[in-house]
């Protein structure tokens, strides 16, 4: 039954489930194409965070001289850069995904959610490669592995949920307002500085910490460091707010996306 739909529509997740293989194939394509096209291929997944780490260490270590506690500075920064890069790549790719796949959208039917979802998953390979480097760094700096390593998994899940939520909003906006394309890099940079990557959360004045923790990536960055290298666990408030905000972003993003979906093929 095909007829004009009005207002808010159901998520129709069953349809999405039937197309789960397409999610797999598109993710696979994104990864394959990225590594085939670039000269250094997988090396970029390592070079990028390493360079970022060097810059941050110089700024926050040598110049601002902010303490990183017991954790060696490179490990401290790198451990937080990993989930951050997963997040920022995911929102960037998802935000552009509908426009880059416009050809498919105007020619074939499939649940449009497949597109941003697979572009979020595409970043996991880069993440995994960089993660191996991190393990190497930990061995080199003789950081003891803690028993809390398992906690990385829920934190990764949290990153995926938050980035998909943001990505859904951005991708649907991007179709209607191409300005979003220019807005994404700017937003990502600002967001990165508002996340405790090169500095610990404790550097933020106490009265601002509540507001600061609204950013769901705060708990993720702190959580990653804690899970890998120990130290003080994540503030319960920051953790809760991160989970709640991420879920709100995801659910609202899903509904907004579905609502806008009906005009995608006409506007793209």
């Amino acid at each position: 039954m095909l007829k004009p739909s009005k207002g808010w529509v159901s998520l129709n997740l069953g349809d999405l489930w039937r197309y789960r293989e397409l999610v797999y194939f598109l993710t696979w394509r994104d990864i394959l194409v990225r590594y085939k096209q670039t000269l250094l291929g997988a090396a970029w997944a390592i070079i990028n965070p390493l360079m970022q780490m060097v810059v941050f260490n110089f700024l926050f270590g040598n110049m601002a001289n902010i303490s990183t506690g017991d954790i060696p500075r490179p490990v401290f920064t790198f451990a937080a850069l990993l989930p951050w890069n997963l997040f920022s790549n995911a929102i960037g790719n998802a935000g552009r995904s509908l426009v880059t796949n416009r050809n498919m959208i105007t020619k074939v039917y499939f649940p449009r959610l497949v597109v941003p979802i697979s572009s979020v998953f595409g970043g996991l390979v880069d993440f995994m490669i960089a993660f191996v480097i991190l393990l190497g760094m930990m061995v080199y700096y003789q950081v003891q592995f803690t028993s809390t390593v398992w906690a990385l998994l829920p934190f990764i899940l949290l990153v995926l949920v938050a980035s998909l939520g943001v990505g859904l909003w951005l991708s649907a906006w991007n179709l209607h307002y191409r300005d979003v394309r220019y807005f994404i890099p700017f937003m990502t940079q600002f967001w990165m500085l508002a996340t405790p990557i090169a500095y610990p959360l404790s550097e933020i004045p106490a009265q601002w910490q509540t507001l600061y923790s609204v950013n769901p990536m705060v708990a993720v960055a702190e959580g990653f460091r804690w899970a890998l290298a120990g130290g003080s666990p994540v503030e319960p408030f920051a953790l809760m707010s991160s989970i709640i905000i991420s879920l709100i972003l995801l659910v609202s993003g899903l509904f907004y996306f579905r609502r806008m979906e009906r005009t995608f093929a006409d506007t793209v």
Binding site: M1, L2, K3, P4, S5, Y19, E21, L22, Y24, F25, L26, W28, R29, L32, V33, K36, Q37, N101, N103, M104, I105, T106, K107, V108, Y109, F110, L175, H176, Y177, R178, D179, V180, R262, T263, A265, D266, T267
Partner: protein
Amino acid sequence: MSDIVIKTEDLGKQYKIGAVINRSPTLRDSIMDMFRWPGRALRGELKSSTDMIWALQDVSFEVQRGQVIGVIGRNGAGKSTLLKILSRITEPSTGYARITGRVGSLLEVGTGFNQELTGRENIFLNGAILGMKRREITKKFDEIVEFSGVEKFIDTPVKRYSSGMYLRLAFSVAAHLEPEILVVDEVLAVGDAEFQRKCLGKMSDVAQEGRTVLFVSHNMSAVLRLTDEAIVLDRGKMVHRAPTQEAVEFYMSSGYSQTSERLWQESEIPASAHPFRPIAMRVIDPRGHSGDTMRSIEPLTIEMEYEIEEAIQGLRVGIYLLTIRGDLVFVSFDTDSPQEYDRFGTREPGRYISRCQIPADFFNEGQYVLGINASSYRVKRYFQDEHALTFSVDTMGAPGKQWPEVRMGTVRPRLNWQIEEQPF
């Protein structure tokens, strides 16, 4: 269970035209609108007074299981819009369509093909996009490769394929879809003749298996061969539905063959044609008249008038000549001659007429269709109308009694014959 698999009722689709086509709305536009109409913006009514057109209007029809239906109509008649609605790509603005069964749509072959990936990888990717399961693709993989005939290059990135190989591979994937309802747009217009025949064959197999097919094409021969019944669309409305033979005749006799001058209205020129603006195309006899019936014993002139709004490099403006059944006779461009090619490497802004002469005693008796194409080879196709105008050719007064019967074939050229008598 009812045997009606597609039923549409008052189906309609409205599109905005005007500025919206040229560029996407930006945030600024919306913010400006919001200031202008704060109340409306809050209620989500951001539609300003842009013109709306109906790409499709009040279309109601039913299709039974196993029927093969052709959809014919000129460019912009709403054929593609109808297919897009039936394949769920876009939503109708009014009415509804009820569909029973899985729909496979082929509005294009090779959707989602990626230049960097190999043939093998693209088969899986494209199959998945078209809705095939991985198991299904694996099972049919060998068959697909064999059908395409590109076995040797299956692990080569498709960017190294010739365009023919690319299309063959793309079509092979599509041809192995097994939906209950198949919706096919003009995908056969491409590819070489032999492969086209193979595809048409595959398609009639599909129909014989009892599946329902909706087939859009400009190629009347293909429509006649493949479909039992046809729907004629004109300016968004369904004007006729009949057994194919009758529908094709109806379509050919309406609209077409009125005059041998075609003028393009502003609204018929897509924004993508810029900076090329077609004005007119006409067929002229040696006395300078442009009528709809030409005599085969006289040379005739084909004229295309157009404007160039910005300099275009490597532009060529040309004609397609087709028979009334849609078979291509030839393609010719105004830069085919080396002198013109050198003179017009860059075509400066201005008004032009490209003119060519077709010699006497070339056409056969019957109706011909002229199409126009303006493009820069391998760069951009500015404008194309495969059915710009129609004219008939009358063999009346053909040279004497020595041409008694109607000759077979699309053309009937008078060749230079010599008969020599050899002494024993």
